[in-house]
């Protein structure tokens, strides 16, 4: 069991080291592969963080340009996704700060935020409608909760990040992450008509 875990850690380390080496070389093939690998997860995170699909798509492109330019800063000792999300988050915050008249609340109040598109997995028609309605309900509820809670809920339950990784990405303490997760889930359940603490 321990040997399996050791092998897994070694494989993960060699993969992150390979990414770090490739980023230092600014290897375009590696970047193409990473863009494809993280496309859905990164865009979903940016959509939830910015509350606006169009803005999220711009930030998606800018994030990868920044990954190219500052790839040498990735040490290869941690998960690449943690570093990637931190880069995306900083870019989003920089953007929101520059657009100072438009506060984050203002962004959340915009009515033209595009609903998230379901993936084309070609299920039956009624399933498509049901999935779409469910996705819309959840997205509407997510948009309705404060961004710091939304971000934590999305990173934990959609991206499957560990609490420590969320703390690294957001720069918050572990206790704060736990409290945000609890309050975020609670608020979300309230919005969806479920029980609240």
């Amino acid at each position: 069991m321990n040997a399996t875990a050791y092998c897994f850690v070694n494989v993960m380390e060699s993969e992150t080291s390979a990414i770090a080496r490739g980023l230092r070389r600014r290897d375009p093939d590696l970047l193409d592969r990473l863009i494809e690998q993280y496309q859905h997860r990164l865009l979903r995170y940016l959509v939830h963080l910015s509350g606006n699909r169009e803005l999220a798509e711009d930030l998606f492109q800018e994030t990868w340009i920044r990954v190219l330019e500052r790839g040498h800063q990735y040490d290869g000792k941690h998960e690449f996704s943690t570093w990637l999300y931190a880069v995306a988050r900083n870019l989003t915050l920089d953007h929101l700060r520059k657009k100072s008249p438009i506060s984050l609340d203002g962004l959340l109040e915009q009515e033209d935020h595009a609903p998230l598109e379901p993936a084309d997995t070609r299920p039956a028609a009624w399933e498509v409608v049901q999935q779409h309605q469910q996705a819309e309900r959840i997205n509407a509820a997510l948009v309705g909760i404060p961004v710091e809670y939304r971000e934590t809920v999305v990173l934990r339950f959609q991206e499957g990040m560990a609490l420590e990784e969320i703390a690294t990405v957001t720069g918050a303490k572990l206790g704060t992450v736990k409290s945000r997760l609890y309050r975020g889930l609670n608020l979300l359940m309230g919005k969806l008509g479920g029980p609240q603490a």
């Binding site: 865009l43 084309d120 809920v153």
Partner: protein, 159 residues
């Protein structure tokens, strides 16, 4: 059962799979006794599963555009790196060549001064001017180019 116990149970439910063995045991015992928290746990579990399985797809055009932009930027950075390398190599070459030739030039000017009976300060000033002339010319050229570029980029930016 205190309100504190319910709050603690719901906080643990929110943390999900990251609980220690002791926390899991305590939570299981609490859920066995408290219907409200059990109901909360069921609802939270359903929501988390829905969040986890919620489909989301990035537009393939966005991915292609991003890959293209990244490649273009990589090309620009590569060109800039090559230019910087060229400038650094030129500087090194100039430094080495000036270190080698300055002494010879100084002796040459001294010989010329003696041969043409010029006072020492005159041929020394001549040497300085001759020595500094290429640098001055290059600086002026760079300055002129700099003004030219900034003028062009300004126009492009405006429109």
């Amino acid at each position: 059962m205190t309100r504190h116990a319910h709050d603690e149970a719901r906080e643990l439910i929110a943390l999900g799979e990251t609980l220690s063995d002791a926390q899991q045991t305590w939570l299981r015992a609490h859920l066995g006794e408290c219907d409200a928290c059990l109901h909360y746990a069921d609802a939270a579990g359903r929501l988390v599963r829905t969040l986890h399985s919620q489909p989301f797809a990035a537009d393939s055009a966005l991915v292609r555009t991003t890959q293209m932009r990244v490649r273009m930027r990589a090309g620009e950075l590569q060109q800039r790196r090559e230019r910087l390398l060229f400038v650094a190599m030129s500087c090194a070459l100039v430094a080495v060549s000036s270190a080698l030739t300055t002494l010879l030039l100084w002796r040459g000017f001294a010989w010329l001064g003696r041969w043409s009976d010029l006072p020492t300060p005159v041929w020394q000033v001549g040497f300085v001017l001759f020595w500094i002339a290429p640098t001055l010319a290059a600086s002026l050229l760079f300055l002129a180019h700099g003004t030219h570029w900034s003028g062009h980029s300004g126009k492009a930016f405006r429109g």
